[in-house]
C-alpha cells in the first residue's frame, strides 16, 4: 500500500536533488578554463618590476626542456581536464539514469496506487451490492415468514373446524364402540377361560412329567452311587448337571464340595455312569431338565 504522504516527501527530495545536480552540471563548464594561463600572465608581470634582473645565459636544451615540460604539463592538464569532464559527464549520466529510474519508480508507484484505488473501489461496490442483496433476501424471508404464518393460521382454523367435526363423529362412534366392546369382551373372556383351562391342563401334565422324571433321574444315579466306606453322613456336595435332549450327561460341575474329595468323586462317578439319564420327550417338559442342581447327601445305603 502506498502511503501518500511519505511518497510526496520522497518525490520532493528527488526533485530537489535532480535540480541541484542540474545546477551543478550547468555551472561546471565555467570551471574548466585552464588556470595556468591566467596565473602565469599575472606571475610574469609581478616579478619584473620588483627585482633586479639577473641575466642568465639560457641554454637551448634547457629552454626546450622547459618548453617540453610546459607542453607536457599543459597536455597533462588538458588530459586531466578532459578526464574530469568525462567524469562529470559520467556523473551527469549516472544522475540522469538515476533520475530516469526514479521517475520510472514514481510512475510505478503511481500506477500501483491507482490500481489499488480502483481495486478498493471495486470492493466497495461489491460490498454495497452484497449488502443490497442481503437486504433483499431479508425482505424476501420476512415475506415468506409472513406467508407461512398466514398459512399456519389458516391451517389451525381448518384443524379446529375438523376437530370439532371429529368430536362430533367420535362421540357418535364411541357409543357404537362401547356396545361392540362389551360384546367383544364377553367373547374374549370365554376364549381366555378356555385357554386358561387348557394351559392348566398342560402345566399339570408337564409338572406331572417333571415330578415323574425327577424321581427316575434320582433313582438312576442312586443305583450307581457307591458310598465311600465309613462316610460322614452329615456331609453333602452340590453338583450342576447339564443334559442333552436325549438325556446324555454333557457336563458335571462340582459347585460345592462336601470337604471330602472321595465323597465328591463317588457322586460325580455315579452321575457319569448313570448317563444317559431318563428325561421326558416333550420338549417343553425337557427344557426344565437341561440344567440340574443336584445335592448329594449320603444318608443311607440300599440293602
Amino acid at each position: 500500500m502506498i502511503q501518500e504522504k511519505s511518497y510526496q516527501i520522497a518525490l520532493m527530495m528527488a526533485v530537489i536533488m535532480h535540480v541541484f545536480v542540474l545546477i551543478l552540471l550547468s555551472a561546471k563548464p565555467a570551471n574548466q578554463t585552464p588556470v595556468l594561463m591566467l596565473s602565469t600572465k599575472d606571475k610574469v608581470k609581478s616579478i619584473a618590476p620588483q627585482e633586479p634582473i639577473n641575466a642568465v645565459s639560457v641554454n637551448h636544451t634547457e629552454v626546450e626542456a622547459v618548453i617540453e615540460r610546459l607542453k607536457t604539463q599543459r597536455l597533462e592538464q588538458k588530459q586531466e581536464e578532459d578526464r574530469r569532464q568525462q567524469a562529470l559527464i559520467k556523473q551527469a549520466q549516472i544522475a540522469r539514469n538515476e533520475r530516469i529510474k526514479e521517475q520510472q519508480q514514481l510512475k510505478k508507484l503511481k500506477e500501483e496506487a491507482a490500481a489499488a484505488a480502483i481495486a478498493r473501489k471495486k470492493e466497495m461496490l461489491a460490498e454495497q451490492k452484497r449488502l443490497q442483496e442481503l437486504a433483499k433476501q431479508k425482505a424476501s424471508e420476512q415475506k415468506r415468514l409472513a406467508e407461512l404464518q398466514k398459512k399456519q393460521q389458516e391451517l389451525e382454523k381448518k384443524q379446529q373446524a375438523q376437530a370439532a367435526q371429529l368430536k362430533q363423529q367420535q362421540e357418535a362412534a364411541k357409543k357404537a364402540q362401547a356396545l361392540a366392546l362389551a360384546e367383544q369382551r364377553r367373547k374374549a373372556q370365554e376364549v381366555a377361560e378356555r385357554a386358561a383351562a387348557r394351559q392348566a391342563e398342560e402345566s399339570a401334565r408337564v409338572a406331572g412329567e417333571v415330578d415323574k422324571y425327577k424321581a427316575l433321574i434320582i433313582h438312576a444315579i442312586s443305583r450307581q452311587w457307591i458310598l465311600p466306606d465309613q462316610v460322614n453322613h452329615q456331609l453333602s456336595s452340590q453338583f450342576r448337571i447339564r443334559l442333552a435332549p436325549n438325556g446324555t450327561v454333557l457336563d458335571v460341575q462340582l459347585i460345592r464340595s462336601s470337604g471330602d474329595p472321595i465323597l465328591d468323586r463317588s457322586a460325580q462317578s455315579a452321575i457319569y455312569k448313570a448317563s444317559p439319564l431318563p428325561v421326558p420327550e416333550d420338549p417343553k417338559a425337557f427344557n426344565v431338565f437341561r440344567d440340574i442342581s443336584l445335592t448329594v447327601r449320603p444318608e443311607s445305603a440300599r440293602g
Binding site: I226, T295, V296
Partner: protein, 429 residues
C-alpha cells in the same frame, strides 16, 4: 423393546411358579440321599514290560482284592499286552483304570511308571508316578503302588506295605520247632527272628514297628523278651516265678502291661521300659489276662473271669475304675480296639464255636465276622479295616483275613506246619 422384555420375564416367572420348588434364576433342584454299599470297581491293564511287569501287576491285584474294598474287573479278552481303551473299561464297569510299565535299565535296575485314571470321568488322571528301583525291590514297589491306588480311591491309608508276625510250629515226630516269623502282610518273604525247641507265644509289635515282644519258654519257664526286628537283638523284660505272659505295648512305647502270677493269681502289671518300675493294675482273686491298651492310651481292655465265664473288662488308667464291656455270648476274650475306637474285635463264642466278633462300642452289640469253628487270635490292621486271625484248614493252622464289615475272606498261603497267633504290624514310617 423394553416393554416386550418385561412381559417375557413375567411369563417365564409364571411358568416357573407353576413348577413348584424351582428357584427363580437357576436349574431344577434334585436331592440324592441313598447310595449302595459296594466294592469300588477297578480295571487293571496288563502292565507293559514282560515278566517283571506281570508279577508286579499280580501283586497289586492281589493286594487290592485282599482289601475287600475293590472289585477287580476281569478282562474278558484273550490276554493282550496292550492297555485297553478307556471307554471299553467303562463299558466293562470299571470306575478307575490302573496302567503300568516296567523297563529294565541294566545292572538289575528298573524304571517303572504307573497311571491311575478316572474311567467314569472320561479318563481324567487321578494319580501317576515314576520310580527307579532295584530288582529285589520290585515286590515292595508293587505294595507301595497298591497303597497309592488305595489312598487315591478311598482317601484312607493302605496297609499293603505293613507286615505280620506269627508263630510257626513245625512238627517232626515228637520234636517241635517253634519260630517267631515276620512276613509281608500277604504272607510273602517270611523271615525267622527266633527259633526255639520250646514254645514261643504272644508276639506283640511295638508302636513304632521296630521291636516285637513275646513270651519264650526256652528256659522251660515263661519269660517275656523283646527282640529288635532289624538287628535281632534281645532284651529280657520279665522273669518272675509263675506266669509271665501276654505282653502289650502302650501307644507311646514307654511301658508295657503284662500278666504275672507271682502273687498266685494271674494279674495285670504295668512296667516302665526305661527303668523297670512296676505297678500292679488289677487285684482280687479272679484271673485277669490278655491286656490291650486302647489307641488313646487311656484304657486297658482285658479278659477276666471275675464274672464267672471269661468276659471283656475295661480298666480306666486315670481312675483305676474297672467296668464290664461284653454282655453277649458265653465267652469273650482277646479283645482290642479298632484305631478309631468305635469298635472292638474279640474272640467270641455264642454256643459252642468260637468266632471272631466285632462289637459296636456305642451299642455293645456283637456281630460274628467269621464262621468257621476254630478261629482265634484276632489282630486288627493299622487302618482298622481288616482282621487277621488264626484258623484251621484241613487240620493245619493257617491265617485268615476278614474285612471288619465282613466283606472279604481270604486265607494266607499255608506253610509247612501250623501258623498261629498272628500280630499285625503298625504302619512303618
Amino acid at each position: 423393546m423394553l416393554g416386550g422384555n418385561a412381559v417375557v420375564k413375567q411369563v417365564i416367572f409364571f411358568i416357573l411358579l407353576v413348577f413348584k420348588g424351582i428357584p427363580f434364576g437357576y436349574a431344577l433342584e434334585l436331592e440324592l440321599t441313598q447310595g449302595i454299599n459296594a466294592a469300588l470297581p477297578i480295571g487293571i491293564n496288563s502292565f507293559v514290560g514282560g515278566e517283571e511287569a506281570n508279577r508286579v501287576a499280580q501283586v497289586i491285584k492281589h493286594d487290592l482284592h485282599l482289601s475287600g474294598q475293590f472289585n477287580i474287573i476281569p478282562v474278558s479278552y484273550a490276554s493282550t499286552d496292550r492297555a485297553l481303551p478307556i471307554n471299553l473299561w467303562r463299558q466293562a464297569g470299571a470306575d478307575s483304570v490302573l496302567s503300568g510299565e516296567i523297563f529294565p535299565l541294566g545292572h538289575q535296575q528298573y524304571q517303572a511308571h504307573f497311571e491311575l485314571v478316572d474311567a467314569a470321568a472320561h479318563g481324567k488322571l487321578l494319580w501317576s508316578k515314576r520310580y527307579q528301583i532295584r530288582e529285589e525291590e520290585l515286590r515292595a514297589l508293587a505294595h507301595h503302588v497298591s497303597d497309592e491306588v488305595y489312598h487315591t480311591l478311598t482317601g484312607e491309608r493302605g496297609v499293603f506295605s505293613t507286615r505280620i508276625a506269627y508263630i510257626l510250629v513245625q512238627r517232626n515226630g515228637e520234636k517241635r520247632r517253634y519260630s517267631l516269623e515276620v512276613a509281608d502282610m500277604d504272607g510273602f518273604h517270611p523271615q525267622s527272628l527266633l527259633i526255639s525247641s520250646e514254645p514261643i507265644m504272644s508276639p506283640s509289635w511295638s508302636p513304632d514297628g521296630t521291636k516285637i515282644a513275646y513270651v519264650s519258654f526256652e528256659k522251660k519257664r515263661s519269660q517275656i523278651y523283646t527282640v529288635d526286628v532289624a538287628t535281632g537283638q534281645r532284651r529280657l523284660i520279665t522273669d518272675f516265678p509263675g506266669i509271665n505272659g501276654a505282653p502289650a505295648w502302650s501307644p507311646d512305647g514307654q511301658s508295657m502291661v503284662v500278666v504275672l502270677s507271682k502273687t498266685g493269681v494271674p494279674k495285670l502289671y504295668q512296667i516302665r521300659l526305661n527303668n523297670g518300675a512296676m505297678t500292679q493294675l488289677t487285684f482280687g482273686k479272679a484271673i485277669d489276662t490278655e491286656p490291650r491298651f486302647s489307641p488313646d492310651g487311656q484304657h486297658i481292655l482285658f479278659t477276666s473271669g471275675r464274672g464267672g465265664a471269661p468276659q471283656i473288662y475295661q480298666l480306666a488308667l486315670a481312675s483305676g475304675q474297672i467296668s464290664r464291656v461284653t454282655y453277649e455270648g458265653n465267652y469273650n476274650a482277646k479283645a482290642s480296639y479298632t484305631p478309631n475306637q468305635k469298635q472292638r474285635v474279640m474272640l467270641h463264642r455264642e454256643d459252642k464255636h468260637f468266632h471272631i466278633g466285632v462289637q459296636d462300642v456305642q451299642s455293645g452289640r456283637i456281630t460274628a465276622l467269621t464262621s468257621s469253628p476254630l478261629d482265634e487270635s484276632p489282630s486288627i490292621s493299622p487302618n482298622g479295616r481288616l482282621v487277621l486271625y488264626a484258623t484251621q484248614q484241613q487240620g493245619r493252622g493257617v491265617l485268615g483275613i476278614v474285612g471288619i464289615d465282613g466283606g472279604v475272606r481270604m486265607r494266607l498261603p499255608s506253610r509247612e506246619g501250623d501258623v498261629q497267633e498272628p500280630a499285625w504290624s503298625p504302619y512303618f514310617g
